[in-house]
């Protein structure tokens, strides 16, 4: 009887242990993924396919995908990291991850890349992810700009499609018009955001600066603003804004909408301009061509990373996500779904080229920008980029408002940039 009781107790304990142990071994993991691109047509759809693939490969595990608006993104991510609850899959803009990396919040992905055999040779913009000799992220988009123009407006003004800065300026002047003579300009030659943050302001100026041969820093990170090339670049920017060839004080989205609706003749922008053009009132009159600036502006856009303070099991799951997103198959689908140039050199672009008529333009621009190592974020000023860009914006605004000499402005910018380093 005693033995039976012993067996009964042992069986009960074993059953209890089994019941409690089972959920542990089969515990479903939920990865938190925060992104501002969740509902964006094209790119959001592509992220959705990556999430779906990861969930299919990890049955029982899920990804909790949350959208946070871009305007509140840096605040939200800072708060999440500072509070010790970072998202597992870290998605950041390429101009903001440096501060997180500098704080030790991002995992060194070098060993993961090595272990998985991911080949990052020729991966566009990946250099930017090498922060303080450590691979802290994988670049998810590096784009080259394309050039949109309103064919009808150029015809009416009697100018050809511009192929260099001088022709661009002449075309912008010829197409800026007060159509009904009421003293209010109804049609602008080109369009720039002049109201937003420093990062966007620099991106708007950059085409003119790069074409003039100017750079904020050299490859070693030394400030190179006080140069004749920068003075020329600033003069060009001042000319375009001061002569009101662009509408003032509008956001980037508003400027794009004006171009799409036929109120702006020339627009240099990222690959996303095509889908905006397609929704505009003037879509039949809008065409695309190569950017009339050399080299074209290119830019890193966003990155994937991993927090350093999550468990090793979770890190493996996050790496699996990154591996899917960077696989040849998903880089190929990135081109077609997001209608953008994927960073991977191994992506098969045949389908994208067949589907998207201007894909070659984008690819050519991306290649040219990458070859010249063009980016909005100057080498050596990565951590201070927000302060730097704000300073450049303010000094450029001062130049326009107070009608200052670009040479004096370049000197001031140079001194302030050096003080920031």
């Amino acid at each position: 009887m005693k033995i039976i009781r012993k067996y009964a107790v042992a069986t009960t304990v074993a059953a209890m242990l089994a019941c409690t142990a089972l959920p542990v071994t089969a515990k479903a993991e939920v990865l938190k993924f925060v992104s501002w691109q969740k509902d964006e047509k094209g790119i959001g759809d592509w992220w959705g396919t990556v999430v779906k693939e990861w969930e299919a490969k990890h049955p029982g595990n899920t990804i909790e995908w949350t959208k946070v608006e871009r305007s509140a993104y840096a605040d939200t991510m800072t708060t999440l990291f500072a509070g010790g609850t970072p998202p597992d899959i870290v998605h950041l803009a390429s101009f903001e991850f440096q501060t997180f990396a500098n704080n030790g919040w991002l995992e060194d992905l070098g060993p993961w890349v090595e272990k998985s055999g991911l080949n990052l040779d020729g991966w566009s913009g990946q250099d930017i992810c090498n922060f303080q000799d450590t691979t802290v992220c994988i670049m998810m988009l590096y784009y080259g700009t394309i050039f949109g123009y309103n064919e009808e407006m150029l015809k009416q003004a009697g100018v050809a499609v511009p192929t260099n800065y001088e022709e661009f300026l002449a075309a912008a002047r010829a197409t800026t018009k007060d159509l009904n003579g009421d003293g209010i300009v109804d049609q602008f030659g080109t369009g720039h955001e002049t109201k937003g943050g420093g990062g966007q302001y620099i991106a708007e100026m950059a085409s003119y600066l790069l074409d003039a041969g100017a750079r904020f820093t050299n490859a070693e990170g030394k400030v190179t603003i006080d140069t004749p090339e920068m003075v020329e670049g600033l003069t060009r920017w001042k000319t375009v804004v001061k002569e009101s060839l662009t509408p003032r004080d509008l956001s980037a989205g508003e400027v794009r909408k004006l171009f799409a609706d036929g109120k702006i003749a020339l627009k240099v922008d990222g690959p996303w301009i095509y889908s905006i053009m397609q929704q505009g009132a003037a879509k039949d009159k809008l065409k695309l061509a190569s950017v009339p600036f050399d080299p074209p502006l290119g830019g890193s856009s966003n990155i994937l990373a991993m927090p350093s303070e999550i468990s090793d099991e979770k890190k493996q799951l996050v790496w699996d996500f990154i591996a899917i997103a960077t696989s040849d198959r998903f880089q190929t689908s990135f081109a077609t779904l997001a209608a953008s140039t994927p960073p991977s050199p191994r992506a098969d672009l045949t389908e994208a080229k067949a589907q998207i008529p201007h894909f070659d333009l984008m690819a050519k621009s991306q290649k040219a920008a990458a070859e010249h190592k063009i980016d909005r974020i100057p080498t050596g000023l990565e951590i201070q980029f927000n302060e730097f860009s704000k300073m450049i914006q303010e000094e450029a605004q001062r130049m326009i408002i107070e009608d200052l000499d670009p040479a004096a402005v370049a000197k001031t910018m140079h001194e302030k940039a050096e003080a920031l380093q």
């Binding site: 500072a82 010790g84 704080n103 003293g183 209010i184 002049t194 003032r248 004080d249 704000k390 605004q397």
Partner: protein
């Protein structure tokens, strides 16, 4: 013994019940207001970029305060904040008091007029800001169209690219959003003034201005005192109107202390420095409130 000690029915223990009932609310306030305040105070004495709650405390330093008081940006922000507080508060009081006196009179359509006076208060701040951004749009805005049609100017005014113009756009938006509060508070105060006061003054031969100056204003002083504190504090800490309209620009012409705090904390990730600005702003707000809640806000009778 212990039961008798906790006997809340005893006359000498009755106030304990009040404290006990207050305890949850006090604990909640301490958690969501006092604790962050102390964290902020603590951060302001550390040279810290990105703050992490779990990170070890950095050495005590006064560097943030030294940097703050020697920074032209800080003094510029103080000046912008003071200008905005004076302009917006004065205008809110003038418009708010005027409209309250107007809708306190009996006339046909008074209810509708009261509704219109209070309407801006009901409009969410961000929506109000978007409306004003359209009105003052530099290229296609209503205000520029009006100015040109009326011959006030021959060319478009760049409302958000000119420092003075941008300051006034921000001020006008804040006045529009803030005056209904003064109006509603004042209207409530006006309705509590006994009619007998005015009748007696009329018998004594007081004219309308004398009745306003010697009866209305003194009786309204307690209401106006509290309202002025609330309006000043609102202008001091308001963030969304400036952030959406101008983001503190151009050339820091609209950069108030709250915008500067945000930029330093979430733009440049200088949490220690941002905390120092926040603490100084708090001190300024407390001093301003104490000054306004002094003798002048008491009734004159």
């Amino acid at each position: 013994m212990s039961v008798r000690f906790l006997d809340l029915a005893r006359p000498s223990r009755q106030h304990w019940l009040g404290y006990l009932l207050l305890l949850p609310a006090v604990a909640l306030v301490a958690l969501i207001i006092v604790y962050p305040l102390f964290v902020s105070l603590d951060l302001s004495f550390q040279k810290i970029g990105m703050a992490t709650l779990s990170a070890p405390r950095k050495p005590f330093t006064l560097e943030n305060y030294h940097k703050l008081f020697t920074s032209p940006d800080f003094w510029n922000s103080c000046w912008v904040t003071i200008k905005l507080v004076l302009v917006v508060s004065a205008a809110c009081f003038a418009v708010g008091l005027g409209t309250a006196l107007l809708v306190n009179n009996r006339f046909k359509g008074r209810t509708l007029a009261r509704l219109f006076v209070a309407l801006p208060w009901a409009v969410p701040e961000v929506i109000a800001v978007v409306i004003f951004a359209w009105i003052f749009d530099s290229s296609f805005g209503l205000m520029n169209w009006l100015f040109i049609k009326l011959g006030i100017t021959s060319q478009m005014v760049n409302w958000f690219s000119e420092p003075t113009a941008a300051f006034w756009v921000v001020a006008i938006t804040m006045i529009w959003k803030g005056y209904p509060f003064v109006s509603i508070m004042t209207l409530a105060g006006l309705q509590s003034i006994p009619e007998d006061f005015y009748n007696a003054a009329k018998v004594d031969g007081a004219n309308a201005f004398q009745r306003f100056w010697y009866i209305t204003i003194p009786v309204l002083m307690p209401v106006l005192g509290v309202t002025s504190v609330l309006v000043v504090l609102w202008v001091f800490r308001d963030f969304s109107i400036i952030k959406v309209l101008t983001d503190g620009g151009p050339l820091k012409a609209t950069q108030t202390l709250s915008i500067m705090t945000y930029d330093q904390a979430f733009g440049f990730f200088n949490m220690g420095y941002a905390s120092a600005i926040g603490i100084v702003t708090l001190v300024l707000c407390v001093v301003a409130s104490l000054l306004m809640l002094g003798r002048k806000s008491q009734a004159m009778y």
